[in-house]
Amino acid sequence: MKIDYQESKSDAKSNNLVSLIELAKTNDRIAQKALFDQFAGTMMTVCRRYSIDENNAQDILQEGFIKVFLKLNSLKNVAAFESWIRKIFIHTALRYQKSFKINYKEIDVNGLEDEFFIKENVIDDLACEEIIDILNRLPNGYKTIFNLSVIEGYSHKEISELLKIEEATSRSQLFKSKQMLKNIISKYYILFILLFTIFVSTNYNPFL
């Protein structure tokens, strides 16, 4: 008889997660700590993508986990825990952003071409830390809409409801964010090539 070890391993992992959640619901601190250890790294990435700086990301991480543990009893479908926790962190981050009063303006994008997708594969070659670093160079409004639309997969209608803006504003902000991202990536690549050339010219001599 063949045993699918990969499947049984993931089953064991999900069973472990279910029992951890059930224990955490009863305010078991050890189970809550185990859940924190399992998800803190991934949620910190979410916080970093929506925050203005590292300190702000740390605050969102703390606030998000407190909300998760306080609302854990309202979680009906344990299998959807990961998407549920991610949603809580996104909402917490957006609530934090409200205090910074981001101005979402509608921009006229008629006549402009969406050039981003021509060189789309450039960003796919970058390492994750580099992608997050590049995303953090975008202005807060652009960054939020790019994250919600491209990374989280929210529709423009959902974004407009979440941020209380017009759908057209969301669309135009996404377009501008993609354009700006393209500029940042091209500058990033020029710098990389320049540094690489300097490095090669100083360290490598084919005649030696």
């Binding site: 790294g41 991934t42 740390q58 994750c128 830390e129 990374i151």
Partner: protein, 71 residues
């Protein structure tokens, strides 16, 4: 952005402050303590209110009883 890149970003683990859990634990315990304090405060107000009402009622009854003329 390709789906694999989006998955890569979503699954990425970032470093966080090692004291974060201690802060969360402290805040959760504080909230629990606050909740217990509020519940105790409400119970004490309710019981003192009940005691006052019953005392007032019983004193009125006793006054009434005292002034009932005996046939």
């Amino acid at each position: 952005m390709q789906k694999s890149t989006i998955k890569k970003v979503n699954d990425h683990q970032s470093l966080y402050d090692t004291n974060t859990w201690q802060v969360i634990e402290k805040k959760l315990s504080e909230r629990k303590r606050k909740r217990v304090f509020i519940i105790l405060f409400l119970i004490s107000i309710l019981t003192s209110g009940l005691v006052l009402i019953t005392q007032k009622y019983s004193s009125k009854e006793s006054i009434k009883e005292a002034y009932i003329p005996t046939p």
